[in-house]
Subunit: 221 residues, 2 copies
DNA sequence: ACCTGAACACCGTTCAAGT
DNA sequence: ACCTGAACACCGTTCAAGT
């Protein structure tokens, strides 16, 4: 990316754009982890001084927000309006998690960020809300449903981002039931990821619970 | 905490202990947020040089791990063995979330940390696993169940830690369904927290799904 | 408007020196 | 063994100066 040394003063053709900064940041985070994309790292990668970034972004928080937008673009909301609501939620949840799982270190960074107004994330919520309202869910409950599912998805993504050894009983310790459960899961999983198994199990459980809740709703009406 | 200026060399009575460092760190995180408990902040609060901390902890990661242990001590696993498994899970999940909710900024810090061996967290898993195995859940599925529920809990805690404005549609924008759902929830909630509503809804949904799954299990047997 | 370069107030961590 | 003090290699951000 470097173009030798630039002399002071405004360059004849701009070196940076906001989008270039976001793309570079996402790439660095993915390649080097959450701590590998400091403002100084990004500027170094782009061959500019750190202060140059501030002509296009307001600060590090702004960069993180932009990266979140980038990652969120790959979430699939196409099921709403074309499939039954439960299938649409299933598709949404799985693609949501995969979008973040493709860049594991982003999750811890992004999950805490407040939602910027007028963002693509906002339009995603709109599509999901519309699908659920049209399906007959009471408006007052729709956001609780969406947020609850999202909490699970982000928690699962966070889990996947952590080392796979995050949950492992110590050897020869005082947790026999934990060890038995661990060994039994190990055997039944084979090559599959434990985090994936927990996500699939949890998502199926939540959707089953939602289906039951939905059935109870139409019984009241 | 300061005791005037100490001269160089080993003090006659120790100033620090590992536990004192952890307690101070938790207090600072709670009072000042996740960024308010740097190694230098902790040392300043304790009236010592930053390097003094390294006689009792291996580094910042170690401190975070210790704080997680502190917070986790308040998780209630007393239901396992004394209540039906579903009630025990409900009690566990609610106290789990509350333990972290009492120190909101800790969650983002702690959720990503790998589990240290021989920790209290490990014994918590053991009690939960034992309760579920004794209740008749297949050993190979127990950990997926626990991890899935934990993912939801931590995701919900993360959500609660974020500003309450994290999810809010922009005014006069192109997300009408999102806005309707937001307004409807607002009205039905009154004073209650939106994050709480989503957690309660999600937990009830997951437990209902688990109950259905459990019933299906015994049908096969 | 958009870059460089210098500066400021921070980090985590290491290590010699002192008791 | 457990502290101080100095040092190293980092941060994010601001701002004057230059084109």
């Amino acid at each position: 990316m470097q173009t030798g040394k630039r002399r002071v003063g405004r360059p004849t053709t701009n070196v940076l754009t906001r989008d270039l900064i976001m793309q570079t940041s996402l790439r660095l985070i993915t390649e080097r982890g959450a701590t590998g994309a400091s403002m100084r790292d990004i500027s170094r990668e782009l061959g500019v001084q750190p202060s140059a970034l501030y002509n296009h972004v307001s600060g590090h928080e702004d960069v993180i927000g932009g990266v979140r937008e980038l990652v969120s673009e790959r979430i699939d909301v196409s099921g709403f309006g074309t499939e039954p609501w439960i299938a649409a939620l299933d598709r949404w949840a799985k693609s949501y998690r995969l979008a973040f799982a493709a860049h594991p270190p982003t999750i811890a960074l992004l999950a805490v960020q407040p939602l910027t107004e007028q963002s693509r994330v906002g339009t995603m919520y709109d599509v999901v809300c519309r699908g659920l309202i049209d399906a007959g869910w009471p408006e007052a409950r729709v956001l609780s449903l969406v947020v609850a599912l999202e909490n699970f998805i982000l928690g699962a993504a966070l889990d996947r981002a952590a080392t796979s050894e995050i949950l492992r009983p110590g050897v020869s310790d005082s947790t026999p039931s934990f060890q038995r459960a661990y060994a039994a899961r190990e055997e039944s999983l084979g090559e599959a990821s434990a985090a994936d198994a927990a996500f699939d199990f949890g998502l199926a459980t939540m959707l089953a619970g939602l289906e039951a809740e939905y059935a109870a709703l139409s019984q009241d009406a």
